[in-house]
Amino acid sequence: MTPRLYDAFGLSLSSTLALPELLPGEGVPQVRIREASVPPTLDAPRHEGVCYQATNAEVLLKVPGVARVLVSHGREILVQAEPGADAASLRCLVLWQALRIVMQQRGMLVLRGSAVALRGRALVLAGPPGSGTSTLAAALLRQGFAALCDDLCACVLPPEGSARASAGIQHLLLWPDSLKAVRPGAPTTTRLRPLAERRVLVPPRSSPERSVVITDICVVHRGTKAACACEALTGVEAFNAILPCGRRASYLDDARLDAAAFRDTAQLANRVRVYRLNRPTGLATLEHVVETLLDRIGT
């Protein structure tokens, strides 16, 4: 099959797998994704876990019943599907798992979170699993924002000037109760993968720009109080809030990359406005959370 060209996270990609979640691309691909034979194990792995092996340059992922995937040097993703594996599961593995490893191998700064854009400004919503960044992003789409990326947010820091968020996977991943809260009456049958609980929300508006200046980063936490609070952070507090949001696999323990992530996070914290949003658990107050956030960032 002739590879198709895509553009995601500021990278040009070629893929023999169709990846409709990504924007079309052009030019010479920096990352090649193709179906090929993948070895069952790596020689002399430095790290091993339940479903992975890793060396400094390669990561082998094994998802039983779906595929083996080999991610090499930040430049190549090889996929060997298991018999009967469905296309959505393969795409899921490539887009949300393997591309993240590619970006980490390339030393890119990737946050766990979503970004939405309005009038040439990007708002990044970052936070730990379960904090509700995708739900908030989906709610902001109803306020006129356009989707830029969900789950993985690649931040680019030029030597001078503003930090930028690159368009990534623009489909939002939501749990059924979140989808119901942000899209009352919307069909909840579009699953990320067959039998997966998470649903896919194709945004009504995607950002026409491939990269947008980040003006605000909101680090979202599920709070313990009924009230919603959003406070501005500066200096070390801002850095400390953003650092844990880095989407980094612990098995790629390259000191050079770790140092780069530390430096880039510090620069990012210095170039944007940073907030910590403590939102009540549950979805009943979602509209109020959105109002609090928009009021705070002055949109």
């Binding site: 992975y52 998802v63 993968r193 997966a196 998470r198 599920r222 313990t224 696999a249 009540p280």
Partner: protein, 278 residues
Amino acid sequence: MSGIVWLASYPKSGNTWVRIFLCNLLAEDDTAVDINRLAIPWGLSADDFERLSGLDPGLLTAAETEALWPDVLKAAASSSDKPLFVKTHRAYTRDADGAPFHPLEATRCALYLVRNPLDVCVSYSHHLGYDIERTIATLRDDAHTVARGESNAIGPDLAMSWSSHVGSWLEVAEMKTLVVRFEDLVRAPLASFSRLAAFVGLPCSAAQIRAALQASRLECLQEQEARAGFRERNPRGGLFFRRGEVGEWRTVLTGAQAQTIRSDHGAMMQRLGYLTRC
């Protein structure tokens, strides 16, 4: 000596209280631990799952997550040189090959907490935000699942009915298990908590046990929850730390409701002495 120490129970049976007590016992000073920053967390997190497996659990199906959990738990146990306390509301289940979900090779021991289902029903109805009738139905539901942690991504845990849950743990023969009744923790705290602390490998003086109990008093937990909330509270339910009483059911359940629970769980209640006491 490493390995997992299971803190196992059906929901609302004193598991969080014991966990907070152990956290206070392990703390370096006498200041009560912050209930929102417990050294022994609710359970392994989505980040833990991903760190140990290499896969984001939010991208997996429930069946895939379920199948991977035992290996993730083994990896968690082998990556720690200290005992790893893990709370579980899961019934003691086995896969199709007979292998237990709570892997034996990763286990050091299990503390099983049990409480009169009549009081569990009252407490659980507040926690879930259900009425009593619906909670009674939940207690008899063998398909009942509970959250495994704070993130949806790590999948639900199969608690089963109260009787099935209790029966499954009481029949565990291959794992060193101490069964502790919630009622004994309330009525004889010093002796009961001393016994369980020694069992899980934390032999302490009576003074240390008393200090940890003092820091884990219900009023202390309620004060913290009122001031700062509690991250493990069900948003659809009421306060987490409510009464902690033995026999509250007498003033809440109707005679018919209590009789229904006795009918549903009579055999197991008899075995644990709950038909004649409490």
